[in-house]
């Protein structure tokens, strides 16, 4: 009962656990993910076969990328409610450009470059209104999301323009017997590893820990936050590429619903919404958790009218577990 303060408060092993959770805040999410994959496999063995997994990655790669996009702004304590609208806009832009210029190999790359630029510009616009004009991020990016959606509707008033066959056949196909999306996943992983080491990542996190403090320390806070939004725009564009590859068409509304899921994924991954703390890997895991919850709900045979409720409840439960376990472990 009477704890002596001379003795270390925590045993060595529990402080090792604490350190692990501190270094890898996505650990709780990883555990949830592994359990979910196991359950998917249990209820529908084919879902964890190569084909099943390829399908799952194809479907959720875009959400993974968008969750990563969202992570960079959340690092700095900001948020981007327009991320999904950027996906839609880039989607119609690249489909439009490919359609316009024929859709062979070269024009596809040109279109993708234009798409990246579009995402970047959208991100910079968000950065300008949030960081430079100092509008509140939630409302300001909601406003830009309406604007971007309007622009997408202007470019392509109705869903359905097809993307060139070469483009989606490549995305959905195989190279050397290995599905193309796996190469994408590997590239994506490399990109993340590289970005973790950048100054921008560290400085975004520092800004997230306290804008005023960061400013007083001499950091160019406005520029850093704009950098976060710009990066978000670029990753949203990458997400749009994946959506386009998987849907083979342009749709001015395609990304709209992804925004809130991208935020949920970031939190599932163990990052702090308040900024200053988190990892992009966690966000990727968070996106996968959402995906595997959705498929598991079907594979266990949930009656259709209950599917939305069970999904919603499971995601809420995962969010709560993640937040609680993470905090417990780090405390």
């Amino acid at each position: 009962m009477m704890a002596s303060i001379e003795a270390p408060a925590r045993s060595r092993s529990s402080s090792a656990v604490k350190r692990a959770f501190e270094r890898y805040p996505f650990l709780p999410a990883l555990i949830i993910l592994v359990v979910l994959i196991a359950l998917n496999g249990w209820f529908q063995p084919r879902s964890v076969s190569l084909v099943g997994m390829t399908g799952q990655i194809k479907t959720y790669l875009a959400l993974m990328l968008l969750a990563v996009a969202q992570t960079y702004v959340i690092y700095a304590g900001d948020i981007d409610l327009s991320a999904g609208a950027i996906v839609s806009l880039v989607n119609v832009v690249i489909v439009g450009v490919m359609g316009q210029w024929g859709g062979d190999g070269v024009t596809i790359f040109v279109a993708l470059a234009i798409g990246l630029a579009t995402g970047l510009v959208c991100g910079i616009v968000n950065g300008l209104v949030v960081a430079a004009l100092r509008l509140q991020a939630i409302v300001a990016t909601f406003a830009t999301s309406i604007f971007f959606t309007g622009l997408a509707l202007y470019i392509q008033p109705v869903a359905g323009t097809p993307a060139p066959t070469a483009f989606w056949r490549t995305y959905g196909g195989r190279i050397f017997e290995i599905p193309f999306v796996f190469y994408m996943a590997v590239l994506f992983a490399i990109l993340l590893v590289v970005l973790v080491r950048t100054r921008l990542s560290l400085r975004l996190l520092a800004v997230g820990d306290g804008q005023q403090e960061a400013f007083q320390s001499g950091l160019p806070v406005t520029r850093i936050r704009m950098g976060g939004y710009a990066l978000c725009g670029v990753f949203a564009a990458l997400a749009a590429f994946c959506i386009t590859g998987d849907t083979a068409s342009g749709d001015p509304l395609v990304g709209g619903k992804m925004t809130l899921f991208s935020i949920a994924a970031v939190v599932l991954g163990g990052s702090a919404l308040a900024g200053g703390y988190g990892t992009v890997v966690g966000s990727v895991i968070g996106a996968l958790i959402i995906g595997f919850i959705n498929s598991l709900v079907f594979f266990v045979g949930t009656p259709s009218e209950w599917q939305n409720l069970v999904q919603g409840a499971a995601i809420l439960l995962a969010l709560m577990t993640g937040v609680l376990v993470g905090r417990r472990a780090r405390a």
Binding site: M2, E6, L202, Q216, S217
Partner: protein
């Protein structure tokens, strides 16, 4: 040869004139002390030089050339570094990252981790031996103690390799050994010809390290003295001005052996302290002393229920007390004043009235809040402390730090508590406010209240406590009563096992 000159620098926040007209001259290789009571404008002046506050008028001359300091980044480029009174650390980043944050060693767009570690290590090494347990380059700042964080902020300031360094109350949380080491570093810097602006409320520090002292009162520079040619008394009279003499510290009253026991604590243990026992009698001021973070605050917070104790026995006026949370202890007539007013005390942006009333709301279980009825309660409490304010409806943030603290203390005076727990209540408070406060405390004690006072400043403790419990490593190591209450005994007990 002057390094930095301020000419007619002024700054207002709305109606508040934070700095009226500052002329200042700092030489190379000089430690220039800035003295002044709370709200006199020291931090404002510092921040203007450091670029984080925009002056309304005035000129800044650096090495003979007039400069425009457009922001903190520009200040750094000009060779100005600052230790912020409220710190400027990123809580989730490591010590090393914080030290180098402003100027990350990098290769292209990437952080050069090796260089970063090396650079941080260089500055951390300066404090080797006094950083305390749990401090390391890869420790996360959030896990550090207050004094360790201040050390990180100091290292971060040093890492600016600036020619002008400003330390705005950089020693307020440091213990003696840490201060000693810091002063050695300052002396080295001085020898290298750097210019240092040093701000502190501790007279002994000022005389230990300063070359010249400038006193600032109500935003105006009232005089500069060579430290060697002046006395504390002169500095104080400059600070206080002609109209008011600093009152002498209250005399310690003898402990009243026969008085009733107000607070009885037996074998109390909890996070940061263990097996603490003591008794406070009516009319007594019991002092807690010792080095920083030896459990004094933790015991007080535990008694208040803010961090409930793990085990032990507490009696209040003869009845057992279970300090589960502040809400319950307040209702049992326990009061607690924290020195960290911005964290624990002030409800920022709200009117002064609302900042005085919360305890009364709770004690009286009120539902409706009628402003005029409340004002009648609030005014006497504020006046008892000689609080300076324009109106009860004004936001508390319009007051200076010291007056904000008085508002926070006033909330405990409406419904008298049985026990008053003071957790370094004068941190960052000016001398005349201190005097007012201790006069009042003595009066409250005389009226039968039991008071526990933890003060980080030795003089404050020696002057005001009837009895002193010296803490070390979370337990009481020695009790000093009567004539034992000397600085020597206090130091000896404090350093015993450390």
């Amino acid at each position: 040869m002057s390094r930095l000159q301020l000419k007619g620098v002024a700054k207002s926040y709305g109606a508040t004139k934070a700095l009226r007209h500052a002329d200042l001259d700092i030489g190379a290789g000089e430690v220039h002390v800035l003295m002044g009571s709370n709200g006199s404008g020291k931090s404002t002046l510092s921040k203007i030089v450091a670029g984080s506050v925009r002056p309304d008028t005035g000129e800044i001359v650096l090495d003979g050339k007039p400069v425009t300091i457009s922001g903190p980044q520009a200040a750094r480029a000009l060779g100005i570094a600052i230790f912020y009174q409220e710190l400027s650390l990123a809580a989730h980043r490591t010590v090393a990252e914080n030290i180098c944050l402003a100027d990350l060693p990098s290769r292209g767009a990437f952080v050069d981790r090796k260089a970063l570690e090396a650079r941080a290590a260089k500055y951390a090494a300066l404090f080797e031996g006094v950083t305390g347990e749990g401090f390391s380059l890869d420790a996360v700042v959030q896990d550090l103690r207050a004094d360790q964080r201040q050390l990180v902020e100091i290292m971060k300031t040093l890492a600016g390799e600036a020619s002008v360094l400003i330390f705005d109350e950089a020693t307020s949380a440091l213990d003696r050994a840490q201060v000693e080491r810091f002063f050695e570093i300052l002396r080295d810097l001085k020898r290298e010809g750097r210019s240092i602006i040093f701000i502190s409320h501790r007279m002994d520090e000022i005389f230990a390290i300063g070359d010249r002292a400038t006193v600032i009162r109500d935003g105006e520079i009232v005089g500069t003295r060579q430290i060697a040619d002046t006395t504390p008394a002169e500095i104080i009279s400059l600070m206080v001005g002609a109209q008011e003499e600093a009152a002498a510290p209250a005399d310690a009253a003898p402990a009243r052996a026969g008085a009733a026991s107000v607070l009885l604590v037996r074998n109390l243990s909890g996070a940061g302290f263990s097996d603490v026992s003591f008794e406070v009698r009516a009319g007594e001021i019991l002092g807690f002393g010792g080095l920083h973070g030896q459990g004094q605050s933790a015991v007080l917070r535990a008694l208040f229920g803010a961090n409930p104790p793990a085990s032990g026995h507490v009696e209040l006026g003869g009845k057992p007390l279970r300090p589960n949370n502040p809400r319950e202890t307040i209702q049992q007539r326990v009061a607690y004043v924290s020195g960290d007013r911005s964290r624990d005390g002030v409800v920022t942006g709200r009117p002064i009235l609302e900042n005085v009333m919360p305890i009364h709301y709770l004690r009286e279980r009120m539902v409706l809040a009628n402003p005029s009825a409340l004002a009648a309660k609030a005014l006497p409490a504020l006046q008892a402390l000689r609080t300076k304010f324009a109106g009860l409806g004004h936001p508390i943030s319009s007051l200076s730090g010291g007056n904000q603290q008085k508002v926070v203390i006033a909330r405990w005076l409406i419904d008298r508590p049985a026990v008053l727990l003071l957790d370094d209540p004068t941190k960052g408070i000016d001398l005349s406010a201190k005097t007012d406060l201790f006069t009042l405390i003595r009066k409250l004690a005389a009226e039968g209240m039991g008071i526990v006072l933890y003060a980080s400043e030795d003089a404050e403790l020696l002057d005001n406590a009837d009895r002193i419990l010296v803490f070390n490593g979370g337990s009481v190591r020695r009790e000093l009563t009567g004539a034992e209450r000397t600085r020597f005994n206090l130091y000896q007990a404090a350093y015993e096992a450390a």
